[in-house]
């Protein structure tokens, strides 16, 4: 597992993938920060974090698209699958590598919060709440991205597929406002990644939402393992 993690981390830096991800992430967060706080002359960060989640729909697939698709295309997955490493450790190693990249870049983007602290007095509870929220959304999106990547041998298809799936999950929340049926709204609200995130942006640490995000992540990682198991049986 360690070997795969190390190789994955290395490949983020020896190929353009890692750099493109970090560049797009930081550009998007910098731009949103300038737009939502500096321009508005406010120290309230909830709008920034709300928009940042939309940016993730594009940014996260850049990180996950090649994880499995590239291995399949180059035939290197045959090496991984015939080596004495379990499928779960293989998927976990890939997830942890993407997670490390993501957290690293998120930390760099959080420097903006420090700048904000220098010149104003933001509500720190809210800043921390939002950061935890966006972190949870991030792991969720990464797991979904890895799952889609395991379904194809084409990076481009993996990226587009992930964007579509993530956008779909967010759109569910928007459709929600248009539906009259109470129960349907309740169900959609429950499965919506977006509406659960809102609590965090209000500075509320909602343990149920945290559990929800971690569960979604686990479910998609499990599904990725299943994809490989199924392929072995095919």
């Amino acid at each position: 597992m360690q070997a795969i993690y190390k190789r994955e981390m290395r490949s983020y830096f020896t190929t353009p993938t890692g750099y493109i991800f970090a560049a797009v992430f930081l550009c998007a967060s910098g731009f949103l920060f300038a737009l939502c706080t500096l321009q508005m002359q406010t120290s309230d960060v909830s709008a920034y974090f709300q928009f940042l989640m939309y940016a993730y729909i594009i940014v996260i697939p850049l990180l996950t698209m090649k994880s499995f698709a590239e291995e399949k295309k180059n035939g290197t997955e045959q090496l991984l699958l015939t080596s004495p490493v379990s499928l779960t450790s293989m998927v976990l190693a890939k997830f942890l590598a993407a997670f490390t990249m993501f957290v690293g870049t998120l930390l760099v983007s959080s420097l903006a919060m420090a700048v904000l602290g220098l010149y104003s007095e933001p509500n720190w509870a809210r800043v921390i709440g939002c950061t935890v929220g966006i972190l949870l959304v991030g792991i969720c999106f990464i797991a979904i991205g890895l799952f889609v990547s395991s379904l194809t041998d084409n990076q481009f298809v993996a990226a587009i597929g992930t964007i579509a799936l993530l956008a779909g999950l967010v759109v569910v929340a928007i459709i929600n406002g248009l539906i009259d049926n109470y129960f349907l709204r309740l169900v959609l609200d429950w499965i919506s990644i977006y509406s659960r995130y809102m609590n965090f942006t209000y500075g509320i640490f909602d343990i149920a939402s945290a559990v929800y995000y971690v569960s979604i992540c686990v479910v998609f990682l499990f599904l990725t393992v299943r994809v490989y198991e199924k392929r072995r049986l095919a």
């Binding site: 360690q2 070997a3 795969i4 190390k6 190789r7 290395r10 490949s11 020896t14 190929t15 180059n74 035939g75 290197t76 997955e77 045959q78 090496l79 991984l80 699958l81 015939t82 080596s83 004495p84 490493v85 379990s86 072995r232 049986l233 095919a234």
Partner: protein, 321 residues
């Protein structure tokens, strides 16, 4: 070392492997021979745990690969059809990665140096794999299989896409490896298994046609010899004369012809050299023989002979096909 029994693999309605069973002992080189799509790769993929089978078991060193995959996989070094190398790594970085992946516990530097030396890639150790030629990449693929010194080596078409010099090198390498490992290699080239393997397993359309020592297969193949003969003379009469030469079992005219000569394919009885008889018979009639050439046996011929001999065996035993 390897026990495969009753392997069946079905893709949809297509039966890729139909009840394949064989064993391979220690330090034995076994050649898998069959045309493309015969089921060689499928069989190898099941043996390495990459695919699962619908029925049957594979035991490596007594360990069932479907029951204890991690334990069994440690005993196998596998080179798939396409070498599983990462272009963005240098050769030594890659081998280092494989070393860790397999969880080896040797003196790392010494072990990897040795593997590089055996596969003769020491001079490209620090180069990126994507910049290497096909031959070198193949050797890096073989090196990868050797990391961890596994008892069983499985090579899927190791010489495809290499130039003749590289092919000879890889064959020599496999022969050397066979002194210490059990090697299974697949190929669709008859001469390749003949030159490398101790035993040949022939597969066609997912069925095992033969599992014999190489010398026995050679004997089957050489049972009757085919010659290509060029003779100047009237076509029909020459053919009649050829058929009546003692030792000739079959003669036919080929479509090939030159100015005043025709080409004939002639088959003779096993172990009987009829070339002198043929020469004198033609000389008597004043038809000059301008060429006699032994024809190499193709994989198709082997299949025909083996399937023929099998069906005649069955008939002799009163069995039904």
């Amino acid at each position: 070392m390897i026990e495969v029994s009753g392997l069946v693999k079905v893709y949809g309605t297509n039966v890729a492997l139909d009840n394949i069973s064989f064993t391979a002992g220690e330090r034995e080189i076994v050649g898998f021979l069959g045309p493309n799509g015969a089921g060689k790769s499928t069989c190898m993929n099941i043996m390495t745990g990459y695919l699962s089978s619908n029925a049957g078991t594979v035991k490596i060193g007594g360990v069932d690969i479907s029951e204890k995959p991690d334990e069994a996989k440690k005993l196998i070094g596998f080179l798939p059809e396409q070498p599983p190398v990462y272009g963005d790594m240098t050769v030594i970085e890659y081998l280092d990665f494989v070393y860790e992946l397999k969880g080896c516990k040797y003196n790392r530097k010494k072990h990897l140096d040795e593997v590089c030396k055996v596969t003769r890639i020491s001079d490209v150790k620090k180069r990126l794999i994507k910049n290497l030629s096909k031959g070198y990449r193949q050797r890096v693929g073989i090196a990868q299989a050797l990391v961890g010194n596994p008892k069983v080596l499985i090579f899927d078409e190791p010489t495809v896409g290499l130039d003749p010099k590289q092919i000879i090198e890889v064959r020599n390498l496999i022969r050397t490896l066979g002194r210490e490992h059990t090697v299974i290699l697949s190929t669709h080239i008859l001469s390749e298994v003949q030159s490398v393997a101790d035993r040949i397993i022939i597969i066609n359309e997912g069925k095992l046609l033969a599992d014999e020592k190489t010398e026995n297969i050679n004997r089957t193949i050489n049972e009757s010899s085919r010659y290509m003969v060029k003779i100047c003379g009237p076509q029909r009469e020459v053919l009649e004369a050829l058929k009546s030469v003692s030792g000739v079992t079959h003669a036919e005219v080929s479509s090939e012809r030159e100015k005043d000569s025709y080409t004939y394919h002639v088959e003779s009885e096993s172990g009987y050299d009829m070339r002198k008889n043929l020469f004198f018979a033609m000389a008597e009639k004043q038809w000059p023989v301008i060429a006699i050439e032994e024809e190499s046996v193709s994989l198709e011929d082997v299949f025909i002979r083996l399937t023929d001999s099998k069906s005649s065996d069955l008939k002799a035993k009163g069995g039904k096909r």
